[in-house]
Amino acid sequence: MEQLLPIAIFLFVLFLLLGTGVWVGLALLGVAFVGMELFTTRPAGDAMMTVIWRSASSWTLTALPLFIWMGEILFRTRLSEDMFKGLSPWMAKLPGGLLHTNIVGCTVFAAVSGSSAATLTTVGKMSIPELRKRNYPEKHVIGTLAGAATLGLMIPPSLTLIVYGVTINESITKLFIAGIVPGLVLAGMFMLYVVAVSRFSPGYRPDPEPPMSFSQRVANSRFLIPVLLLIMAVIGSMYLGLATATEAAAIGVIGALALAAAQGSLTWTNFVESLLGATRTSAMIALILAGAAFLSLSMGFTGLPRHLAEWIAAMQLSRFELLMMLLVFYIIIGCFLDGISSVVLTIAVVEPMIRAAGIDIIWFGIFIVVVVEMAQITPPIGFNLFVLQGMTRHEMSFIARAAFPMFLIMVVMVFVLIAFPQLATWLPDNMRPSAAG
């Protein structure tokens, strides 16, 4: 294959730069630069700025810092502690205990935000300190969080599904509806994993929660009211047509500020620190996105992802073989590209294969989301790994290892989807949004 040389060069430069501790965003920039210089005669620097400006000034991106800011506000005020006080009496009874709050929290926030990074920061900022206080094993705290946060991409609203729907010309509403059940199933599988870990892992000995009577637990649930109000405001504003998915983030910030003020926990210091914290985190993500945008352009010029997809297309596989091949293909390129780029760069070749094989295109959207979710937690380029590293200062290798079981669960999820395609197709086929809206 004539593509072996560019593949080898890209990999060598990538591992060299990332491995020797060059900052991730700039490492991606460097790899892309080498690719441009070697494989095209186009002016690399100008082309780089074209795509970086487009990605940095993207209006859909504005939801990200706002959701991160909301997370920072919740974290720096009493709200997150309260959410824990409310949830913990209920979760404590489940085998595995409060670790379930990671998954339940991510599932709920996934319904509010369209990205996995925002889900991760919001829930992580709340749950990590509380779980650490109670001596939950660090690797499970980090691992379940990294995995569950990817639900942000599957449970609507979802940026990935928007990009996929626009690219293949399918109804985004339908795709959103298709993501609901598989998202909940995946969340359920994560929770089963927590149960299994708590039973079979000898190091799993968190501090027991103080026993509580049923009436006490109900009484404690009052602490959940503020956060529930916030979530209802954000989701409600979207479904009532008051706000678009992007604008709902603004409702979230205002709601969080209002709640914190009502509780008396909003001080000027808290406000400024939450704002600066959000500014830094979104700057970190923006620099990586800038590098990723340039890398994606560079890959586009070399035609690498497309040639690989064409190579698969030429193999004339059966439906199941094709899906297995694509699973492996997307897992591999998902290691090196962010999920959305890998979809955009390959869909032109993959879409006809899917349609020719008679695979439901909406179902395939959910398949794609699962593999894109995997890409979020596979090294060396995995967004959730980066965000968690920024948040916890753990080595990426530690986080990637901690998240590996979640990766395996997602692989299982692919087979569940293949065995029970109705999980993704039943709701959209039977639920038509009424014309009255």
Binding site: F33, D46, M49, A56, T62
Partner: protein, 173 residues
Amino acid sequence: MASAIRRALDAVYDLAAMLAALCLVLILAVIVLQMASRWTGIPFPGSSEYAGYLMATASFLAFAHALNRGAHIRVSLFLTALGPRRFWGELWGLAIGTAASGYLAWYAVRTVQLSIKFNDVSQGQDATPIWIPQVPMAAGAVLLAVCFADNLITLIATRRDNIRASAIEDAAE
């Protein structure tokens, strides 16, 4: 003299970060106005574009500050493995960082010049000459390059850079 330069640079990084934070507040304001405009029927043409420009400004102006606060992430396995020779690893990282951010800064400034030369105008309803929102982007890119060079020089002079990371537990109560 050296400490005066140090203080001035740190002040510039922090000032840029304050402006970036202000941009986040402005994004919030623009989006709220955009919604209000729909509810009331009073048009707010170009709101999405303005939010996008503020987004770019917020990101780029905060790059340098985020670097010195250790917010930009890297794989530090190899650096840790170097042990007492870590200095050389840091030197390599900062040298590559200075080169890459310098490259970014160079072309960021050039893209502003090209936008002026081509009279490039936003395709949205705002019809803003595109160089205007690109100026803060270029400024942020230059500041990041300065910050990397600053760290590189500081590392060589004092064997310690200015990057001070804080993790989640520092902020917890």
